[in-house]
């Protein structure tokens, strides 16, 4: 499903910190091998997307228009899972930051030896494929005490959020860790504590603003994960936005499914693209802000 490590690398790219000296071919003239791969990539990547876009404009009556996209607002069967997914996404992102940021800061400050353990633990979710996680949860649900069913599994929010947080751990940990490493944490925290700030206030008002880009990136990728995750939600029978996309497809409303796909892809791309500019700007002024 997801590629958490890749996201960590992507975050590193966006936050900066790559070596100054780079691999560079001599001469500025575009080489054949470069042009060739760009052409191939354009055909392979843009082809299906362009096809999908054209397809999504074909309405059920045969004419062309944005009717399929209108379903996002007009069709209750689409809108309500979308709202559920958005709720899940936002809460998951909040939980992720609340859980990971204090832990990362604590490890950096007080228990640097635990770094390796943290890295290994946060890699674990990669080892367990989503379908296996879903299998475990399904089996657990069969024999779970009734209060667990009532308070956890009976609602998509409580049934999915805790596990999406786990799925998001590999890349959120790395993103936040990279952000925290880049600032002078000891000085900041000491200064804040000496001026009488409590731990929570230090975290929220001193550390968080300084790792804003990393935290933002981690939150955004978590949101993207929640809006795209389909395996666990399907197997546990929750009707989230991506699940609804698949359902519509199987109900032969292919045009709507494709339109929703395009919508999510473009939306996610724009946010990520925008974030890369924000990250760039902050990198420049970062040093002045820290102390």
């Amino acid at each position: 499903m997801t590629a958490p490590l890749a996201e960590a690398e992507l975050m590193r790219e966006m936050i900066g910190g790559s070596p100054p000296s780079r691999f560079r071919w001599q001469g500025g003239r575009p080489r054949v091998w470069r042009v060739l791969i760009f052409v191939l990539a354009a055909i392979f990547f843009i082809g299906p997307l362009a096809a999908a876009f054209k397809y999504s404009l074909q309405q059920s009556d045969g004419s062309y228009g944005f009717g399929n996209y209108g379903q996002i607002i007009n069709n209750r069967a689409v809108r309500s899972p979308l709202v559920t997914s958005l709720e899940i996404a936002v809460i998951t992102a909040a939980v992720v930051i609340t859980l990971m940021l204090p832990t990362v800061v604590w490890v950096r400050l007080k228990k640097p030896k635990a770094t390796v353990a943290m890295e290994l633990i946060t890699l674990l979710p990669i080892v367990i494929p989503p379908v296996v996680m879903a299998a475990g949860l399904e089996e657990f649900e069969l024999n779970a005490p009734s209060w667990v069913i009532k308070y956890v599994f009976n609602h998509p929010l409580t049934g999915l959020i805790p596990f999406y947080v786990v799925l998001a751990m590999p890349f959120t940990y790395r993103a936040i860790d990279t952000g925290v490493r880049a600032i002078d944490l000891h000085t900041l925290v000491d200064a804040s504590r000496n001026l009488g700030a409590s731990w929570p206030s230090t975290l929220v008002r001193v550390v968080l603003p300084n790792v804003q880009t990393a935290a933002l990136g981690a939150m955004f990728l978590t949101i993207a994960l929640c809006l795209g995750e389909v395996v666990i939600a399907t197997l546990l029978l929750y009707n989230t936005f991506p699940v609804e996309m698949v359902v519509l497809y199987h109900q032969s409303q292919v045009g709507v499914s494709v339109a929703l796909s395009m919508f999510t892809l473009i939306f996610t791309f724009l946010v990520l693209f925008g974030l890369s500019f924000v990250a760039q700007r902050r990198r420049g002024g970062g040093a002045a802000r820290v102390v």
Partner: protein, 282 residues
């Protein structure tokens, strides 16, 4: 601070992991090692190994993961090298990075539907090719075949490789190339004796991640075909939710444990290779 106090701050995180990752993991592994009456047994494993359907599923999953990860790795590296040679922070650089993020990340459902729109029976590309006299479907291609699903996988494997290999390519110092060239090496010799050996561990590591990624992926197949495709995740889905046989859920959990073992081996390999990669590139 040392001793117990030092661990206190990690406690909430640790408790969270134990509950929400530990429980599903425990249920799967425990289920695969016990009978319905809760007695320790290895029969579940023996049964999944002797079942032809599951063996085919494993074979299909492995073949799919191997070819999509190798194709993805080769083209991804090529594309990444072409992008890295462009100026950092340039629009091209940003564009490829961001779209790689989206494509690698959204791996599943939206891409599957984009492919259906392009190469499905009524797909835009299929229809277009028919105009030129090429009938894909007459030649046995369908978007829900192993080839079709694999093609979708490549679509997210290449961007993933771009993301994973870019830092390594950027770590190649231009001084090394200059040194080699001024000592009289040809470009080919520089590639053979400097660039390739330095990059090899990163390349192998990234390919392993791609393999694991394809092996655990199910969203694409779920969207394109449903649970009828013969790959391991689909078999797990079937065993747990289909009306197959009595005791099928044990088989599902056992397949789950076997998947975990495969991915675990791949990840350990990745960590070992990664250590070598750090020697030159950091």
């Amino acid at each position: 601070m040392s001793g117990l106090g030092g661990w206190a701050g990690i406690l909430p995180f640790a408790a969270y992991v134990v509950v929400f990752l530990g429980i599903p993991l425990y249920v799967v592994v425990h289920g695969s090692l016990t009978t319905e009456s809760n007695q320790l047994t290895f029969d579940n494993f023996r049964q999944t190994w002797s079942s032809p359907a599951y063996r085919i599923a494993f074979k299909n999953s492995l073949i799919l993961s191997v070819w999509t990860s190798i194709v993805g790795a080769l083209f991804g590296t090529w594309l990444a090298a072409a992008v890295v040679a462009a100026k950092r922070g340039s629009l091209l650089h940003r564009f490829v990075q961001s779209s790689s993020g989206v494509l690698a990340y959204f791996a599943g459902v939206p891409l599957a539907f984009a492919f259906i729109a392009a190469l499905g029976l009524q797909g835009v590309v299929t229809v277009l090719l028919k105009h030129f006299g090429i009938d894909l479907y007459a030649h046995g291609f369908t978007i829900s075949s192993m080839t079709g699903v694999g093609l979708c996988y490549v679509y997210f494997q290449i961007p993933l490789m771009v993301i994973l290999i870019t830092p390594a390519l950027e770590g190649l110092r231009s001084e090394w190339q200059e040194a080699a060239l001024s000592l009289g090496a040809s470009k080919l010799r520089y590639l053979r004796h400097v660039a390739v050996p330095v990059l090899l561990p990163s390349f192998v590591g990234a390919t392993l991640i791609l393999f694991g990624n394809a092996f655990s992926a199910y969203a694409t197949a779920l969207a394109l075909v449903g649970s009828t495709l013969s790959i391991v995740p689909a078999q797990i889905d079937n065993a747990l939710n289909g009306n197959v046989l009595v005791g099928a859920d044990r088989a599902g959990l056992t397949l789950g444990t076997e998947m975990i073992i495969v991915v675990l081996i791949v990840m350990v390999g990745y960590l070992l290779v990664q250590r070598r990669a750090r020697r030159w590139l950091r």
